[in-house]
């Protein structure tokens, strides 16, 4: 029987896909809200990086005698109690919030992945013990945990990174472990076992790459709350410690009592926190849709 042109070797010649990350990126960029999120984040990232250049004043160039003033041509966001330019402080504040927030999430991610991989990979007693520890950590509300750690370790950016990171690590650990447990039953993992693949190879080559996508989404969303957590710590007086360093949370603390008279002092840092957090949330949601392995056609 003559082989027909429609025979099995033929797959549509124009490639519908060019790699999984590429596809995901394309899907992401078609998602309106995600683009908005990216814009928000980009805005603050640029603000943070270029703060020294674009800020009209140094955040510490404060003229005490000026006192609180509303927005004016010279100070577009007004001045705070010490007479410092609010706008510059907001811009510089982005540095702390973003760096600390993102680093904390990253730190939590690394820790969580390690613990989750060990628990999910080893199973048995190791898994049981680790999970109970994680359960305990999760029982404590994140912000309280962070407060406890900062109270113990003292002020400083690194301490905040640790504190916030530790409060997120259990979530990542559990998420990863759950994914690994589910993936372990997948046919392709079983196929790898039946070929004689070592457990390490299976973990690194088969399980982790497929388990990471929920983590990426979760990490992005965690960045949103991390920014709020960092600001929260600052608000509670557990911030970086140096009063001259501009930090959004501390700016809120300083201005809280001026709610009636100078609401803009709360409005601008508050808006910055909220908008940057929303940005990460939108991006996270967009990533979830884009990375979703709906790869069954």
């Amino acid at each position: 029987m003559a082989a027909l042109p429609g025979s099995v070797a033929v797959v549509p010649t124009r490639r519908i896909s060019r790699g999984l990350w590429h596809d995901a990126a394309r899907r992401l960029l078609r998602n309106g809200p995600a683009i908005v999120g990216i814009v928000f984040i980009a805005f603050f990232v640029i603000a943070a990086i270029l703060a020294p250049i674009i800020a009209p004043y140094s955040p510490t160039a404060c003229t005490l005698s000026d006192g609180i003033h509303g927005p004016s041509p010279a100070h577009i966001m007004g001045t705070d109690l010490q007479g410092c330019d609010e706008y510059s402080r907001v811009l510089y504040g982005a540095r702390i919030s973003l760096t600390v927030g993102i680093t904390a999430v990253f730190f939590g991610l690394v820790g969580g992945v390690l613990v989750g991989a060990i628990a999910g990979g080893a199973g048995g007693i190791v898994d049981g013990v680790l999970m109970r520890i994680i359960d305990v950590l999760l029982a404590v509300p994140g912000i309280l945990l962070a407060i406890g750690i900062v109270a113990w370790l003292g002020h400083g950016e690194i301490q905040i990174v640790l504190a916030v990171g530790v409060s997120y690590a259990p979530i990542f650990a559990r998420l990863l472990r759950g994914s690994l447990l589910a993936l372990r039953e997948s046919d392709y993992v079983i196929a790898a076992r039946s070929m004689g693949a070592s457990p390490v190879r299976i973990l690194l080559r088969h399980m982790l790459p497929n388990a990471l996508t929920p983590l990426i989404v979760q990490a992005t969303l965690a960045a949103a709350t991390a920014i709020i957590d960092v600001a929260g710590l600052g608000f509670l007086g557990l911030g970086p410690g140096d009063p001259r360093v501009a930090e959004w949370g501390e700016m809120l603390t300083d201005s809280a009592r001026f709610l009636q008279n100078a609401p803009y002092l709360i409005l601008f840092p508050g808006a910055a926190i909220v908008i940057s957090a929303i940005g990460f949330n939108l991006l996270g949601d967009g990533l979830r849709e884009a990375l979703d392995p709906r790869l069954k056609r």
Partner: protein, 358 residues
Amino acid sequence: MHLLSVNNLLVRFRTHDESVFAVNGVSLDLDEGETLGLVGESGCGKSVTNLAVMQLLPKPAGKIEGGEVVFQGRDLLSLDESEMRELRGKEIAMIFQDPMTSLNPVLTIEEQMVETIRAHRRVSKPEARARTLELLHTVGIPQPEARLRNFPHQFSGGMRQRVMIAMALALEPKLLIADEPTTALDVTIQAQVLDLLQRLTTERGTAVILITHDLGVVAGMTKRVNVMYAGFVVEAASTADLFARPRHPYTVGLLHSMPRLDAQPGEPLIPIEGVPPDLRRAPVGCPFAPRCAWRVEACWTAMPPLDPIEATQVIVTTGPNATHRIACWNPVTPEEAIAARPLRAGFEPAAPPTEAVS
């Protein structure tokens, strides 16, 4: 007048990314009490056609973009949702492949069946309950009183399907649409359920559309068959005729590519080459052309209409003497149907036009 008449039905699924051309001009008729088999592989449109009849297409993506559906003389496509709800369950009922998803997992069987009955009939709860018991008994559920309080997950697959049948037949509908009712069941359970289905529908004179991909099931359960491919009906005939004298290359291909339990040992399978069609492209010409050993030039450019295999005065679309119709420019001869390949001297399948892809 036919019980159900579908004429040139067109169904598309439209998302912002793409369109899926699910049903591309399907016509079929059904009389009271008939059992029609709708056969085809996944994606051929057999399920979508029936969802369209019931107006149960997923919204907003699923759209009926042409054709008409006439049931007992009424144009179903012109009815609004509340009128359709009147019909569903009472006049037309549907059972699905996976009873786990079509039975509500948080309601007991009693609750679900009583609700169904009372939605359409003014009866008291005790009366509805009695009817439910009667139905469960009819479908062969052992100890029905005890099982009324059970939830769907407490039944086995075969039992659940029986409950589905009981619910579907509770109101004595004129038409039952069974969408792959036994595909997910073991073969001995399948035998039980099909036997039950056949017995009950014969007793009650219910018309049945049986959707399946299994030609063996069709052979045993139906009197007439429509074979579908890529949203078209490609062959329509009485069951006996379809198996004894298939004329469409797809039907011939299917028959020869399925292992038969009673085949001679060593009998080769003759597969249909190629891959299933991509329904995201609007159909140009006959969708089976890339895989067809009988194709001629015309097949690439125009879809043949569903026409009788022999010129005839009257086209009968229902009943045991239904006209055997196919949609093909180059039908298969009886000898070729046995041999499963073209036998004409020097015949070569027509090459695709230069710019087409498979």
